[in-house]
Structure formats: structure tokens, C-alpha cells
């Protein structure tokens, strides 16, 4: 266990919020991302699929599962695959280089979980989360404000900001450099995930209409 502080006990409210998040994520995997193209659909399905499985595992095992060293890796898959989906959908000419960046980021974050000092781990997280987080946050806002997508698509950007906050809080907690106390993070996490999921749902449904 990398963080010695005792994990907060999961409450019924936490479980309900995570269940709602899981159901919404399942809906997104199944029906919320249709007719967007093969790579965007697969990328979004991976992101929402990881959210679904992660939500179910926290419901089953409690917040103690967040003590696993794999949490940083799992928390990275979501923004990386989501940003890959956005680039594949809206900036196809950038898809090749960005796919390389996504693959390298994932590998570096995975490898630095097992080798390397704290500094390199933090740098890998900042680059991976930072760039993909900025894409999820900025691309939907820019597209919406420029009128290229419906206005509601900007909610994906809001969801991106929330997932960026959640992912960073968890990652830095796991690094032993917490931004907020562990208890505070675990108290707000289920609500944050649910609101984020609602934002994604609203944002992507705007594309379907």
C-alpha cells in the first residue's frame, strides 16, 4: 500500500452514485456512441468500459481497491482512450501521431509503476494526463463555440475537466503527493464520477440528435 492513511469506508450513498455512474457508462458503451466511426467508437467504448468496470469494482470491494498500484494505470486509460476517440473523430490527420503518443504514454506510465524514481513517475503522469486531459477539455469547447458541433457537445469538455480533476487527485495521492486528503478525495469521488458521466452522456447525445 503506497498511502498509509486508512481508506474511508464506502457508504450506501457512495454505492448508489457509483451504480448510477456504472449504468450510464454501460448505456454509453452500448448506445451512446453509435455511428461515429470504428476508431472513435472503440476508443470511447474502452474509456466508458473501464469506467463501468472500475465503478463495479469499487462497489464490490470498497475504496480499498484504490490502494492497488494498478489504479494509476487504469485511471490513465480513460483520458487517453477518450482523447484518442476525439482526435480520431474530429482531427483525423492527427490520428497517427496522436495514437503513437497515446501508446507511448500508456507504456511509460505502466513501466514507471515498476521501475524508476518518483520524479519520472510524476513527469509521465503529468504528460499523459495533462495532454489527453487538455484535449478532452478543449476540443469539445472549441468545436461547440465555433458551431461545428451542437452547443451541448461542450458538456464533454466539462466532463473532461472533471475526469482530469478526479484522475489527477487519485494519481497524485498514489504518488504520495496528495493535493487533498485521502478522505476528502474519497468523499467527493463517487459524486464527481457521476456528474462527469452525466456530462459525457449529455455531450455525446448532442451528436446523435
Amino acid at each position: 500500500m503506497e498511502n498509509s492513511e486508512m481508506a474511508k469506508k464506502i457508504t450506501l450513498l457512495d454505492r448508489v452514485l457509483l451504480l448510477v455512474t456504472g449504468v450510464l457508462a454501460a448505456y454509453q458503451v452500448g448506445f451512446g456512441i453509435r455511428s461515429l466511426g470504428f476508431i472513435p467508437e472503440i476508443s470511447y467504448a474502452v474509456a466508458f468500459g473501464v469506467l463501468l468496470i472500475a465503478g463495479l469494482l469499487i462497489i464490490i470491494l470498497g475504496f480499498e481497491i484504490l490502494d492497488s498500484p494498478m489504479v494509476v494505470v487504469v485511471a490513465t486509460i480513460i483520458p487517453l482512450s477518450m482523447s484518442l476517440g476525439l482526435v480520431a473523430q474530429f482531427y483525423q490527420s492527427w490520428l497517427g501521431p496522436f495514437a503513437v503518443f497515446v501508446a507511448l504514454s500508456f507504456l511509460v506510465i505502466l513501466i514507471t509503476r515498476f521501475v524508476g524514481g518518483k520524479g519520472i513517475k510524476v513527469i509521465a503522469i503529468i504528460i499523459g494526463h495533462g495532454i489527453s486531459g487538455m484535449i478532452i477539455f478543449l476540443v469539445p469547447l472549441l468545436l461547440s463555440f465555433s458551431g461545428k458541433t451542437p452547443g451541448l457537445f461542450s458538456f464533454v469538455g466539462v466532463g473532461g475537466a472533471l475526469i482530469g480533476i478526479g484522475g489527477s487527485l487519485l494519481s497524485f495521492l498514489k504518488m504520495g503527493k496528495p493535493i487533498l486528503s485521502k478522505n476528502t478525495i474519497l468523499t467527493i469521488l463517487p459524486g464527481l464520477l457521476m456528474i462527469m458521466m452525466i456530462c459525457f452522456l449529455v455531450g455525446f447525445s448532442a451528436l446523435a440528435n
Binding site: A26, V29, G30, F31, R34, A45, F48, G49, L52, I53, L56, L57, I60, L61, E64, I65, M70
Partner: protein
């Protein structure tokens, strides 16, 4: 008591009967198997247009599965009294007498199988086969002799979904067999994680398990291999049923979750992860059944 008046003791009496006998049917396990039967039926008859058949399927399967479970409880009451996790069940505590349980188990089994046979001979025969494999082959014959009895337990567990589909179609097809195989291979994920969790209990009761025979590490690898097979057969069944792409994607995500959890549990085992796998396997089966029914 005048006619039209209700006996104020009646609800209390009902509650007392429920408290006494309901634990005998292991409602969660019975409920999950019943859901597989309904899913098997709906996989061939969706949308369901013949409600009386659906209700008869529900009633007969519920009675047959419950009857089989009560008979198991009756036969295994000596084991249950030794095992920590089961010693508070109605039979070991003396809340229900063995004769009562045997009579109840036989009565509802006969009612369930009889109802099933009247409904459809093929369906009824499969329901009977499930009860026979579970009670006679698994519980009476093999459970105390070999850890491999779980295979027969798994086969009997796959019978409700095969029966449900056969009732819908009027015959047995490869999809029904694939669905039954997915349940058969899911059962080790469910039962063996349970065996590992309560290994001391099983050893004390001298019930052979894979964990006691081949060791916990090997058992975890078998669980992982079994999960792979369960997801393959579930995928095959969903293809046969003609699941839409959306539902297939959800099933793929859940299958991926089960596989990763089983593999991770084999590579980096822990008690917590083992329990998580046990619970996730139940969620997986329930969700898969809802998806193939949709």
C-alpha cells in the same frame, strides 16, 4: 371467527413460516438460476407474447430448483453443522426437522418437475435431468468423494437455461447448449472462489475441493481458464442469439472485466481480489442474462 374477518395471527404465522423455510431454498442462488431459465426462454421468444407460458416456466422452474436445493440442504445437514458459514442454517440449528425438509423438498420437486412435464415434455425432461444431476449425481454420489463433482454441479446449473430455451423453441439447439456451457464454465469461477474463501470450513467437513486437492494457486489458474471459456461460450451464444452491436459491446466490456479480474487474481492473488472475483462473477452472469433476454 365470523366470515369476512381476518385472523390477526395470520400475518404473524405467515412471517414465521417464511422465516423458517425460506432460507432452505437459498433464494439468491435459486433466483439467479431462475433468471438463467427465463433468459434462455426469452433468447428464443423475445418479445414474449405468451404470458401464461412464461408464468408456467417461472413457477415450475422455481419449484424444481427450490426443491432440489431443499433436498441438498437435507442431505448435507451433517456437513452444514460442521462448517462455520452454514451452521446457522435451519436444519443444523434444529429450526426445521430433517423429516419436514425431506417432505418439503420432495413435494416441491415433484410439483415442479410434474408441472414442467405437463407444460412441455422436452422442457420437463431437461428440468428433471437438472434435478437428477444436482441431487443424485452431484450431492449424493460425488460431492464427498471427489473435487471433480463440481463438473456435475456445473452441468446441473446449466440445465435451467437449456430448458428455458428448449421450451421457447420446442427443441434443443446449439445455442442452448452454448448457453448451458457458458453457465457450466462460469460455475467454477463462482464456486471455486467460494471454496478458497472457506477452505478451512470445507477441510473440516472433509469435502474435497480443487483448492484442497491441487492447492490454491492451481485453483486460481483453473478459475482463470474457466472464466476464459465462460466468456467464449457467452460470446458464441450472443452471436447465435443475434445480439445487437450495442448489447454485444456491453457484454464484451463485462467479459473483459471478468477475464482481467480472473487473470490478475491468478497472477497476484489476494483474499480481497478473490472475493471481488466471486461477486463480479455473479454480476457478470446476471448482466449477461439480462443482455441476451433483451
Amino acid at each position: 371467527m365470523k366470515s369476512g374477518q381476518t385472523n390477526p395471527q395470520f400475518p404473524l404465522k405467515l412471517a414465521s413460516i417464511r422465516q423458517k423455510y425460506w432460507p432452505l431454498i437459498k433464494s439468491l442462488q435459486t433466483g439467479l438460476l431462475l433468471i438463467t431459465g427465463l433468459a434462455g426462454y426469452m433468447s428464443s421468444r423475445c418479445p414474449v407474447s405468451h404470458i401464461p407460458t412464461l408464468l408456467s416456466l417461472t413457477g415450475s422452474l422455481f419449484l424444481a430448483i427450490s426443491g432440489s436445493t431443499v433436498l441438498n440442504m437435507w442431505f448435507d445437514r451433517d456437513i452444514d453443522a460442521i462448517m462455520e458459514r452454514s451452521k446457522k442454517r435451519p436444519l443444523p440449528t434444529g429450526l426445521v426437522q430433517p423429516g419436514e425438509a425431506l417432505t418439503l423438498g420432495l413435494a416441491i420437486s415433484v410439483l415442479g418437475v410434474g408441472w414442467a412435464l405437463i407444460l412441455d415434455p422436452i422442457y420437463g425432461t431437461i428440468v428433471f435431468a437438472g434435478l437428477f444431476f444436482d441431487m443424485i449425481v452431484y450431492t449424493v454420489w460425488l460431492k464427498r468423494r471427489t473435487a471433480w463433482s463440481i463438473v456435475w454441479g456445473g452441468i446441473s446449473g446449466g440445465m435451467p437455461i437449456l430448458a428455458g430455451r428448449a421450451l421457447g423453441l420446442g427443441h434443443i439447439d446449439w445455442i442452448g447448449i452454448a448457453l448451458a456451457a457458458s453457465v457450466l464454465f462460469w460455475i467454477p469461477t463462482h464456486i471455486m472462489t467460494f471454496n478458497i474463501r472457506y477452505l478451512d470450513d470445507y477441510n473440516r467437513a472433509r469435502v474435497p475441493t480443487f483448492a484442497s486437492l491441487y492447492g490454491v494457486d492451481t485453483t486460481r489458474k483453473i478459475i482463470a481458464a474457466s472464466s476464459v471459456l465462460a466468456t467464449i461460450f457467452m460470446g458464441l451464444s450472443s452471436y447465435g442469439v443475434g445480439l445487437t452491436i450495442g448489447y454485444t459491446r456491453i457484454l464484451a466490456v463485462l467479459s473483459g472485466g471478468l477475464l482481467i479480474l480472473a487473470l490478475y487474481s491468478a497472477i497476484k492473488p489476494s483474499e480481497k481480489l478473490n472475493f471481488g472475483l466471486f461477486k463480479f462473477a455473479s454480476i457478470y452472469m446476471l448482466s449477461s442474462m439480462l443482455l441476451i433476454s433483451a
